[in-house]
Amino acid sequence: MNASIAPTVLLVLRRLATALLTVLLASLFVFFAVQALPGDVAQQLLGQDATPDAVAALRETLGLDQNVWLRYGNWLLGSATGDFGISLVSGEPVGPDLLVAFRNSMLIAVPAMVVGVALSLTLGVIAGVRRGRPSDHTISLVSLIVMSVPEFMVATILVLLFAIAIPVFPAVVLRGDSATVAELLPAVWLPAIVLTLAMAAYIVRTARSSTIDVMASEFVTTAELKGLTTRQVVWRHAVPSALLPTLNVVALNVAWLLGGVVVVENVFNYPGMGKLMLESVFNRDLPTIQAIAVVSALVYVVCNLAADLIALALDPRLRTRRKARS
């Protein structure tokens, strides 16, 4: 037993190192992509009518005349400590604004994640076990429809139903960036539902097909022949195995939420990271765009890392280095 711990630790460490490298590469890519955009920060700040002298002076003040690698290094060190630089538009540090936006996004993303994952895994397993029966058809059809309708459409329909026709929820967050958590609470429901639906559909489909695969495998047949009830077979034997392939889909979808929030937050005027991103792109607020891109990359990497580590914990085959037949 002791002998197997060391390789596992090594495996985890190697996985962590890969994650770190991915984030570094992402930051490098983001930084140089932004540098490659036409016109530099000084030009953006001063507008098109600016005199060359004024642009040169501002470039010097902002340190833009320094070596690009030096600037990357400084920016990276700053980012690591939460200092993402100064917003070009508001003139205030990017960090605190980004933090508030991130918190607001989490306010809709976390419930969507928890409810969405739980709901969709359950539905997926039910559909898989009852393959070909009416409940499977209904679940599959509904998830296919939800998957096909883009988020902004789901958002619009929900607003029409629950904010305009039957006014239970507010249609938009009126106070925008200055809304407190208490003010946001009535408004988080509709966006959270939209994200849940958008995310759940994919997971239902994957969970269903992997359940079907597992239910057809030999060890499930053995369990059935052993005389276990269907319930026991499904929840004790089939589901843990069926969840493994679904795990990566869940991870990718959770990370994908960050992309989904861009559209959803704008429809609801919800002051989260997606809206901040759209506004910074619109205003050419390069430091903010850079910070958001890196934070998004970080979330992606962390989600995938978590999925891999959970898989490692759940599946002994992954830990015991190719001893299994596969």
Binding site: I164, S178, N253, F282
Partner: protein, 525 residues
């Protein structure tokens, strides 16, 4: 790192879903879509307003750097007319009328202007308004550090030390060159009057003489203004107005339909949305007549459009009425290539001919028979593409073959405008005649979007500025309009009504040009 499900599988079902949701939108909003299209109201509701109440306005914020300093190019437009006054403003027919200045007169050659200022006007902080404040405000606009859009216009007129105050209620301005239309240049929405010495903090305090005083303001966020009891024209009907920033147009409309706000400012609803809004039980649509001036600039420096015969053919080839009918569904008026709206006192009431055959002949003569080129459009404004398509269809009869090209809205005004030979564009109406013609049509002006140059036309503008007789000056401006119609490279197919979404509870909404009636607007009693 891409989502596992390919995007294409979503797209295919999307079209059907869009149709379904569109249908849902109409029925849910309580509109029975019978054969007759729901009509968009001609005028805003008028009636007795309840005394007091608060109006909630949703606005698209300029940027997180926006300011209450009207001189700045980043001013929060909706607040300005409520917080401040100018010396003079324009009435609906484009005539300069009193605001803080009660009367004005010039010397014989129009180089020295004297304004008699209103007595007993107070700023929100209790200070009395005097000529010193007016001089300070105009100096602030002229200051190159302010980089005011109106600074360029005014600094060509007023030299250093050109302003003086013989007494606290008299303002004297000496001009560098004669200008009979000078007062009209002070009607711009950058020219609001602020208290002497306040330029550094005016962007946050918003202290003016207007009907409302500021109680809170966050750039690109929320803000509130309260009725100012000591306003010289009387207290406004409302107790206050709350402003909310909502960037997404759909979100603004949803907020209106859900009853979270009462008015959407600075937003021209597209026709389909306007129909949905006017069919709802809570909200409706009002029009700001001819507020949107649509143009089709033909680049004067391009090969094809440097030839006056080609430019003339492009005009003769189409009937603006058909463009209004198709691109605006009738919610506007035909322009006949005259940039002056028909409501203006100086409007030249002569309709050019519509003659596709003559257009064909002119093109042949210019060696451009069957002219084939691209016309650029974008989603920058909701009417752009309908306009480009309607124009393309209209000129087919003259053998002109246009291909509509859609460009990114993001870079439309940096990479297409003033660079591609043919495109669609727009302005807001509300410029005084002198500024309109000098800024957008004069040789070398930075806003001359077609780069057109005509020395006779420029000469007429100078002659008009030097002409102190009102009737003779009007004739000069009309001669100038005639040249624009005949020769200019900037076509005016139409003026569009701005379709403004507002609650059915709002009464006495009135807006034209850059004027908004903050005094009378109120909520239904």
């Amino acid at each position: 790192m891409t989502p596992l499900v390919p995007e294409t599988s979503r797209r295919t079902v999307l079209v059907g879903a869009a149709g379904l949701a569109g249908l849902g939108l109409l029925t849910l909003a309580g509109c029975a879509p019978d054969r007759r299209t729901p009509t968009i109201p001609q005028a805003a509701a008028t009636g007795t307003a309840a005394r007091g109440g608060r109006l909630r306005i949703a606005r698209p914020a300029a940027s997180a750097a926006e300011t209450l300093d009207s001189a700045s190019s980043l001013s929060a437009y909706e607040y300005l007319g409520a917080l401040y006054n100018r010396l003079v403003r324009l009435d609906e027919s484009g005539v300069t009328v009193p605001d803080l200045a009660e009367d004005w007169s010039a010397n014989a050659d129009g180089t020295v202007w004297t304004f008699a200022l209103r007595d007993g006007v107070r700023f929100h902080d209790g200070r009395r308004f005097t000529a010193a404040d007016a001089i300070y405000s105009i100096d602030h606009i002229l200051d190159p550090a302010t980089a005011s859009p109106q600074g360029e216009v005014l600094s060509a007129m007023i030299g250093p030390g050109g302003m003086s105050a013989p007494d606290p209620l008299t303002l004297r301005i000496e001009l560098l060159t004669p200008n009979a239309e000078f007062p009209s240049l002070l009607t711009a929405y950058q020219c609001y009057i602020i208290p002497e010495g306040s330029a550094a903090e005016i962007g946050r305090t918003g202290i003016g003489t207007g009907p409302f005083r500021l109680s809170s303001f966050e750039p690109a966020g929320t803000g509130s203004i309260e009725a100012f009891d000591d306003h010289f024209a009387g207290r406004p009907v409302l107790d206050g107005i709350d402003f909310y920033s909502i960037q997404d147009t759909t979100a603004r409309v949803n907020a209106l339909l859900a009853g979270q706000i009462d008015l959407i400012s600075q937003t021209n609803l597209d026709y389909a949305t306007a129909q949905v809004v006017s069919a709802s039980s809570t909200a409706t649509v009002a029009r700001a007549p001819d507020a949107q001036w649509y143009t089709i600039p033909m680049l004067f420096t391009s090969d094809e459009f440097s030839d006056p015969r080609v430019r003339q053919a492009m005009k003769l080839a189409y009937d603006p009425q058909t463009i209004v009918d198709t691109a605006l569904q009738g919610t506007g008026s035909p322009g006949w290539d005259n940039p002056v709206p028909p409501s203006q006192a100086v409007f030249l009431d002569e309709q050019r001919e519509y003659d596709p055959e003559k257009a064909r002949f002119l093109l042949k003569e210019a060696g451009r028979e069957g002219l084939r080129t691209e016309i650029f459009t974008s989603s920058y404004e909701s009417v752009f593409t309908p306009l480009a398509v309607a124009y393309r269809d209209a000129v087919k009869d003259a053998g002109i073959d246009l291909v509509v090209r859609n460009a990114s809205a993001d870079s439309y005004y940096t990479q297409i405008w003033m660079q591609k030979p043919l495109m669609v564009s727009y302005w807001f109406t509300g410029r005084p005649i002198d500024q309109l013609l000098n800024q957008i049509f004069r040789t070398g002006s930075s806003y001359n979007e077609s780069a057109w140059s005509n020395p006779t036309f420029d000469g007429l503008l100078d002659a008009a500025r030097a002409e102190m007789n009102d009737d003779r000056r009007r004739m000069l401006y009309q001669d100038a309009q005639r040249i624009v119609v005949e020769d200019s490279a900037d076509m005016t197919p139409m003026f569009g009504d701005r379709l403004v979404g507002l609650s059915r509870n709002v009464v006495n909404y009135a807006e034209y040009g850059f004027e908004f009636d903050y005094l009378s607007i109120g909520l239904r009693a």
